[in-house]
Amino acid sequence: MAVKFLAKDNLVPWLAELAETHRTIVPKREGEAVVFRPFAKEEAPELSARPTESPKSAIFPQCDTLMSFRYTKDEEDPGKVLLDLREMKDESPAVVVGCRSCDAAGFNTFDRVYMTDKITDQNYRARRENTLFVTIICEKPATTCFCNWVGGSPTDTSGADVRMTPLEDGWVLESITEKGEPLLSSTLLKDGDDRAGDAEKIRQQAKERMPEAPDLSEAPGKVLALFENNDFWEAESAKCISCGACTYLCPTCYCFNITDESSGMEGVRLRTWDNCMSHQFTMEASGHNPRPTKAHRLKNRVGHKFSYYPNIHDGNISCVGCGRCIKSCPVSVDIRSIVLHAIAAPAETEK
């Protein structure tokens, strides 16, 4: 494991070096938001504020072309039309620098679904295997943070290839995975062993600053037990306005839609983020909707994260506690309190 030190002034040159070989994605301030964008020399990345969006799109773009198609006519018989399909995959090497530990850990949630022993989402895999994460630890939890509730920590390395710990004059960089090591080969990085201690102190402090986490081990069972309790979900969802801010900013929400768009004889099949809070998400062609109200939909969102997913995937909660859904919710719906309410709710009688 390599430990290096990156001086403040060398951040941009180092990123510029990375950008020569990788699609380099960094958090940037745009208007009043901090978003992930390709690195450009003219603009310094924003590493101190928590990014408004998650780095999800680096691997799972909001709109991804799964394949393109083209119709061609038979020369002899123009009534006969042939179809040509082309897969679209992006395998270019990429690195995300400056996302938080929890953000990078979010992809572990994806991996369990997108790359199983039965199927592999090839578009996802192509980017996932070729994208590295340089995460930055959180020195102090925000009022919306709860990574330690769901098995994470401000210094977590479960999704990182390299971890950055901020010091006064720069950052200590440690490689976490083998794939991360080459990122630290730059001559702009100095040996960081002498600063490792300072960094460890900061990390320790960061962990200590986290408020105590409640025990969520009961959550999967409790949430599922409330499935038929419509009053509970109606009360919890009353203020929800059914928008997609929570799901689209979430590092672990992985649902999508597939639609075709065409122009003339050619077109594309697109895979786009979709949002389980939307009425149209489960709307069937007949007009029937199995999740007709926002209570049904919020139940599915919370249920999926804290119950269904952990039930299928060895108890792993599909939430990393980044708190974006709370912070950016237009009406401040707080998923933490919903889960706590569910745990505290009196047990239902058998249905």
């Binding site: 119709y71 179809l83 592999t120 090839q122 992985y254 999508f256 597939i258 709307m283 199995p290």
Partner: protein
């Protein structure tokens, strides 16, 4: 159990095979049946599936929609799908003609436990387009007739013209190795078979539940009352099989649309016993 190329680990699960429509049958005013052959001879030859599995048909430029493969695996000249006009994709499918190319992503999902059903009596109860998934299993059983006990079919539709598979009905009626009852909701001129709602006709038929499996598919309201009728006839929850229709997109358990709690209809279904359904949260 997921043995074909579509679901193998390094295949693109979203990439359809291209097939050609070789025949179109106008079943009813709003149902058309499409017979499709995959363009790649190898793919067609290696294509295996089980009765009850579904496929996604693509009209490129419009989208994909899910249909049960309603030809049996014992008859592999083509794959057959029956399409009722409902949304955008089905409407577009209805405009296609023989020779047109479509995408086929199949087989997907689970299937009727035809191995376990061996030796049992079978009652098929189909309503409207719900006959399609039953047809594949019925034909499979007829092709392996010796393996199964008494086969009874009750098929109902709103009116004579809404009956699909008209061309096969005479054969099913005539065969002496199965018993076929057809019914429509209300009297119609020229109709020589039963008249009445499926659950009522089923009660009159009074099939024995002894060593018997009931397999039913149809519109929700019919299913509801058919389940009640079956219970009255002594069928236990695990003696009833049905297959669900649900909005699916990816078909491989990812996209998050078709789950009922922890179960994804596209991979854990669409075939469930009534006992299994009762275990699921109520979100159909």
């Amino acid at each position: 159990m997921l043995q074909n190329t579509q679901t193998a680990k390094d295949a693109n699960p979203y990439l359809p095979s291209i097939g050609t429509i070789v025949e179109i049958i106008e079943e009813t005013p709003n149902i058309k049946t499409f017979r499709v052959v995959l363009n790649s001879e190898g793919d067609m030859k290696n294509f295996t599936f089980h009765p009850g599995q579904v496929g996604q048909l693509s009209v490129f430029g419009t989208g994909e929609s899910t249909f049960v493969i309603n030809s049996p695996p014992t008859r592999m000249d083509y794959l057959q799908f029956s399409v009722m006009k409902a949304g955008e994709v089905t409407a577009m499918l209805h405009t296609l003609s023989v020779g047109d190319q479509i995408g086929v992503r199949a087989p997907l999902g689970n299937w009727f436990p035809y191995e376990e059903l061996k030796g049992k009596d079978i009652v098929f109860i189909g309503g409207g387009i719900g006959m399609a998934p039953l047809r594949t299993l019925l034909l499979y059983m007829l092709d392996n007739r010796a393996d199964y006990g008494k086969i009874t079919l009750l098929y109902g539709a709103r009116s004579p013209e809404d009956m699909a598979f008209k061309y096969e009905l005479p054969d099913w009626l005539e065969r002496d190795d199965m018993e076929t009852t057809l019914t429509i909701d209300a009297e119609a001129p020229g109709w020589e078979h039963s008249v009445g709602l499926i659950p009522n006709v089923l009660q009159e038929m009074n099939p024995s539940s002894e060593n018997c499996m009931a397999i039913t598919c149809g519109p929700p309201i019919m299913i509801k009352f058919t389940l009640q009728a079956l219970a009255k006839l002594g069928f236990k929850d695990d003696q009833i099989l049905t297959t669900l229709e649900k909005r699916m997109k990816c078909g491989v358990g990812i996209c998050g649309r078709c789950n009922i709690g922890t179960k994804y209809v596209c991979v854990d279904g669409p075939v469930f016993t009534y006992a299994q359904l009762k275990e699921l949260p109520n979100e159909l």
